[in-house]
Symmetry: C2
Amino acid sequence: MKKIINAVDLVEEQMICGLVKAHPDYLKKIDDELIVVRAEKKEGKVALISGGGSGHEPAHAGYVGKGMLDAAVAGAVYTSPSVDPIYEGIKAIDAGKGVLMVIKNYTGDVMNFELAGEQAEEDDDIKVAKVVVNDDVAVDGSLYTVGRRGVAGTIFVHKIAGAKAETGAELEEVQAVAQKVIDNVRTMGMAINPSTVPAAGVPGFELSETEMEIGIGIHGEPGVKKADLEPADAIVDQLLDKILADIDYVGSDVAVMVNGCGGTPLMELYIVNNRVADVLAEKGINIYKTYVGNYMTSLECEGFSISLLKLDDELKELLDAPADTPAFKQI
Amino acid sequence: MKKIINAVDLVEEQMICGLVKAHPDYLKKIDDELIVVRAEKKEGKVALISGGGSGHEPAHAGYVGKGMLDAAVAGAVYTSPSVDPIYEGIKAIDAGKGVLMVIKNYTGDVMNFELAGEQAEEDDDIKVAKVVVNDDVAVDGSLYTVGRRGVAGTIFVHKIAGAKAETGAELEEVQAVAQKVIDNVRTMGMAINPSTVPAAGVPGFELSETEMEIGIGIHGEPGVKKADLEPADAIVDQLLDKILADIDYVGSDVAVMVNGCGGTPLMELYIVNNRVADVLAEKGINIYKTYVGNYMTSLECEGFSISLLKLDDELKELLDAPADTPAFKQI
């Protein structure tokens, strides 16, 4: 295992500390916990919390800030945070209007967030609602999940529900628009090289020099199939076929995210987007906005995912709203 | 060679097309050339052009936009653009107040930009000035360079000279502030895994599973030494020692950039920044602003560089000015 780290058992703590030291105007860390909250608590709005295992940076702590999240809770690499820090995070950000939990659909995450939310409701009388993101069309059920997995489409939930919360909307309204995003976003990914969890020390899976994994999850869990590596355009076509078969996007406006897995050169993500744009144009799907970059990563994994979000006027307005976080800025 | 591409001879063109298709509100491409300019030409200001070999994405085309560049010209991967496209780029962006060329110090880039600038002056009566960025303290002269190499510090030149140009300043003033950045920025990098130029098909250098290269350039050219891989903190200390020996930063305000080489997980960059912040604090160097991310990459190379820019009031104000480009947004 070749990594730029100090010690396997320090990666999460030192990563969060390094993030907060880079952005003290945006973020602060809660002592002794892997919880990041806004440097200045925003009053008078529904608060948003998300999180999950580490290793997906900038998800989720990089999205804490104006127009997106109020707190992010990290677990160990690829491991759900436990109930206590999620509960502490909820208490730290509630401003009296309630807290929306944005949970990626992984069994551990869902269970721990739900327990934390119940505790905050019962012990602290905080109104807590949740949404569960399950945008990955690759597989229905996997190593860590019942049902579809939650992956890069989660960023659109952060962005749009975050913008809604900034308007002063009520908890039910913020939850409803978050659910609308979930209902309209689909993602599928692939990888050509795996990531290595520091504590494991060996890659999460193996691929030969000529193989790729189609439909991979964000923890390196298996996808649809191993196959011979093909040209970028052919890979894009396969992923889009599956996404487009799941929702009828034709004639709609969409937001596109071409997300890098952490080790993928930006050059390759743009080559991917070149094909995505052409295919959508051919099919009569109108691209309203495109995001290309490392939004939801898997350590140094090399690969990408494509997300499509079908937009109506409400979603467009909220997607266009300003955001100012370390990892996502929109003017 | 395992890459997500279509064909070796198409990577630059398809990458630029994919970038422009992602950001049509910001960028347009000049037909048949690897030249990217702002979607809407800005009148009444000095125009900035930069560029160099491809493979450093988002440099430089990702920095075309409000508050930064007016044009970026790309060559083949790790290869200087030729004189003609640079000349075409200069002509496309001149708005009567002249053009500043921001050149990284590599022999081919300097020669071709200079020839293009002379041609624009002679044939088209365009005022052209240049600065040559040489921020890399690792080596004095290398495979492709006489003198120090220009690396990630170039982004600070784009940002600050770009902000100055937006104020309506004259060419000599924009050039002077760009030179002030160059005089005050120093960078040093390292890598644990190489990149592979598509047309070459094999990695640019070799490192064993336990080795790193200290002082590497952005084309994988050799640095100071190969050495046994050490903990992140020890690596940071080595790089900072060399940077801090070159300029007296003690007691000053600085901007920090922890730049990823393209294949480095963001987690590791934050672990690096955790140490950078601590060391600078110990030494009495005040961090004014920190940037952590992939700003000047080397394809899928795994490694990072640290840049320190010593700031005075003028540089702070220009660094803080808003910018809105695909790859660099500041609110």
